[in-house]
């Protein structure tokens, strides 16, 4: 097998070993195994990508075995690497490696350590299959696989009910999107008879015209899947609750990789999306609305991880916006840089949480700049990338997105303003988070826990430094998607007002200045207890703008009500009638076999009389 084929198999082998041997493995062995497997994948990815650079066609593909065939379409277990999936595998295996290393240290004292690492490995397997799949069925396998791992890892501490509920919610909400996506795939297969991604993109554009009805529906259904997985409006409610999982899980799955699967899907199926400009503008609108909504919600969060969760939603909103505007490569570029800095932010938050004895409430932190200088520095790096201050990786990718919006046919000035407002919100909530956690005087924690007492320093620190470097300089990586995204939208810069770019660059600074004055009480706090203002607006934003309440009262409660009414399922009763009928005869028959010889004799006699009667008549 070629090197490409091996990439997902290292973590798979490690997963099987870890899950089979379980607690019999010591911490050292289990972590070496799991990290080593990801490291092998990362190294293989690097080698394969360097091969890709020298390959003439810009594509490496390998067929492992054929899975099944549907009519004329062959569904193979085969991998396909072009520059888009190359970016994805390097993010998944590279950032995944760093997060695994951190996770091994973070979870060291957990009694189910090897189960945790096994799930993490399985997640990497599924994610790699998702991004390497050459057909949509294999992609769907990986898609569901990451959903499963997300479920398992959110509910990893399953002894607490909240975690289990959060896991269930994430699973069910994403399943809504997945169902839409599955229907989209069926529709695609029915109309094209093709499931291979490259072939679908080619034959879609040759079979349909722009604006046809069929690609509209297919793209809309695929968008449904992407919306579910990437936590966009209206299926975004699961992501904040998913923070119930261990922090490395939040970093790996719910920030850096899995939630970007929707973005990947849309970028991958661009041949279909390009045929329906309406859906492209829906994508842009979904992204814009989500980034605004998440930005507003992030302003009123108390939990440090929930702030980061909402910021993840809003950054993915930017990616969606870019895709919708036709700026494919800018979207994927932001996906990559976001993976760097969001993983950094989450992991640093994890270190802070560990140091404060699992305290996640921002209002009880404060003054950490002096107590945890290294973590504070790393967090600042993450935040400036998130705010897209000039020079950081976030700046390059976000500006690339914003620059295309104004004159894109599927976006436009309104969405440009949305993106600018989102950037303003981003910088405000980032500052709020920073002020609350790191500035002022400490409110509740006089002593911080020595992080490195029972966690290995090297593993807990070095991944953060590497991620910080990547976040700062990741913007210099140049991605070349000319072969993947054939149609690059040409921006007619001459038509745009001259103040667009300066304003976009200045926006984060405006936000910082605003926050500096508006959140003065958070910044200057000298140790007295802080409370969030109890106003209704704060509570409304803190609860994610009422979506949870809406879904609960519109969908969950009526459903539970109906389920309670139909407790003795009507259809079930119809089916059980068969059982009742069979049971009746069973009872009658078994009553006749009573073991009393005289009854048998009477039965024989009766039968003879009946037979005689019948024959004589």
């Amino acid at each position: 097998m070629s090197l490409l084929a091996w990439i997902p198999f290292y973590p798979l082998i490690s997963f099987l070993l870890l899950i089979a041997l379980g607690r019999r493995l010591s911490w050292g062995l289990a972590s070496t195994l799991s990290i080593g497997a990801i490291a092998l994948s990362a190294i293989s990815s690097g080698l394969v990508i360097s091969q890709l650079a020298s390959a003439d066609s810009g594509i490496i593909s390998v067929k492992l075995w054929s899975w099944f065939s549907l009519g004329s379409a062959e569904v193979n277990f085969s991998f396909y690497l072009d520059s888009l999936s190359a970016v994805m595998i390097s993010v998944v295996s590279g950032v995944g490696l760093l997060i695994h290393a951190y996770a091994a240290a973070y979870m060291k004292n957990d009694e189910n350590f090897s189960r945790f690492m096994a799930y993490m490995n399985l997640f990497i397997v599924a994610m790699l299959i998702l991004v390497l799949a050459d057909n949509l069925v294999l992609l769907y396998l990986g898609w569901e696989g990451v959903g499963l791992c997300s479920f398992l890892l959110i509910g990893f501490w399953y002894q607490e009910k909240e975690n289990v509920l959060a896991a269930r919610k994430a699973f069910i909400v994403t399943r809504v999107g997945d169902t839409a996506m599955a229907i989209g795939l069926f529709l695609l297969f029915k109309s094209l008879g093709e499931l291979n991604i490259a072939a679908v993109n080619v034959s879609a554009s040759s079979l349909w015209q722009i604006g046809d009805e069929l690609p509209y529906w297919i793209a809309l259904l695929l968008l449904g899947g992407a919306v579910g997985k990437s936590a966009q409006l209206p299926l975004q409610t699961w992501l904040p609750d998913a923070m119930a999982g261990p922090t490395p899980v939040s970093a790996l799955i719910h920030a850096a990789t899995m939630v970007t699967a929707g973005v990947y899907l849309i970028a991958r199926m661009q041949g279909v999306f390009l045929l329906s400009p309406e859906v492209m503008s829906y994508v842009a609108w979904v992204g814009a609305l989500t980034l605004l909504l998440a930005g507003v919600a992030a302003l009123a969060q108390k939990d440090i991880k929930r702030v980061l969760a909402y910021s993840t939603m809003s950054q993915i909103g930017y990616m969606m916006l870019a895709l919708g505007a036709g700026a494919w490569s800018a979207g994927v570029f932001h996906l990559m840089t976001h993976a760097f800095f969001k993983a950094l932010l989450f992991l640093t938050a994890g270190s802070v949480i560990l140091a404060l004895h699992h305290q996640q409430d921002l209002f009880k932190m404060g003054g950490l700049l002096k107590k945890l200088p290294v973590e504070s520095g790393l967090f600042i790096v993450g935040l400036i990338c998130l705010m897209a201050l000039p020079g950081t990786s976030g700046f390059f990718s976000k500006e690339a997105i914003i620059a295309t919006l104004w004159s894109s046919p599927t976006a436009g000035p309104v969405l440009w303003w949305g993106a600018i407002l989102g950037a303003l919100l981003t910088s405000i909530y980032s500052c709020r988070l920073f002020f609350l956690a790191f500035l002022g005087a400490s409110r509740e924690h006089d002593k911080v826990h020595d992080l490195h007492h029972d966690h290995p320093t090297v593993l807990l620190r070095w991944p953060l430094f590497l991620l910080a470097l990547l976040s700062l300089f990741g913007g210099l990586i140049s991605l070349d998607f000319t072969e993947v995204f054939a149609v690059a939208s040409s921006v007619d810069a001459a038509q745009e007002p001259a103040w667009l770019h300066p304003l976009a660059i200045a926006t984060p600074f405006i936000g910082i200045a605003f926050a500096w004055f508006f959140f003065k009480s958070y910044r200057d706090n000298n140790g007295e207890a802080l409370e969030m203002k109890p106003g209704g607006l704060n509570r409304f934003c803190g609860d994610g703008l009422g979506f949870d309440w809406l879904y609960h009262s519109l969908l969950v409660r009526p459903y539970c009500f109906l389920a309670a009414i139909n407790r003795r399922d009507i259809i079930d009763q119809l089916i059980m009638f068969n059982g009742w009928y069979v049971r009746l005869w069973h009872d009658a028959m078994s009553a006749s076999q009573n073991g009393s010889l005289r009854w048998y004799a009477a039965g024989i006699g009766l039968a003879v009389v009946c037979l005689a009667g019948v024959t004589t008549l």
């Binding site: 078994s590 076999q593 073991g595 009393s596 010889l597 005289r598 004799a601 006699g605």
Partner: protein, 102 residues
């Protein structure tokens, strides 16, 4: 001497057979069941004799001798079993002695 009509013989045989059969069904005492069985066998024997005399054939009587010896053998074994049962269980009630459980 006028020959007895076959119908009468057969009706007698039926009545005897029914009496025996009802005895088998409703009697609890194993001894009486055995006796009822004898009555049934004899009812069949009467039917054979009657049929043999109507058709002037010896087969009916041969069959009757066969049934008679069969009945004798059966009674010999049956009574021996009954004595063993009485000794062992102090009862001949067939419902009490039944060991089949449906």
């Amino acid at each position: 001497m006028t020959a007895i009509p076959l119908n009468h013989v057969l009706i007698l045989a039926c009545i005897l057979f029914s009496i025996g059969f009802i005895g088998v069904i409703i009697r609890k005492n194993t001894l009486f069941i055995l006796m009822s069985l004898e009555i049934m066998l004899n009812a069949v024997g009467v039917a054979f004799i009657g049929a043999g005399s109507v058709w002037q054939q010896a087969d009916g009587q041969i069959m009757f001798i066969l049934i008679l010896s069969l009945a004798a053998a059966e009674v010999a074994i049956g009574l021996a079993l009954l004595i063993r049962m009485q000794r062992r269980y102090q009862s001949l009630d067939i419902d009490k002695l039944s060991e089949m459980r449906g």
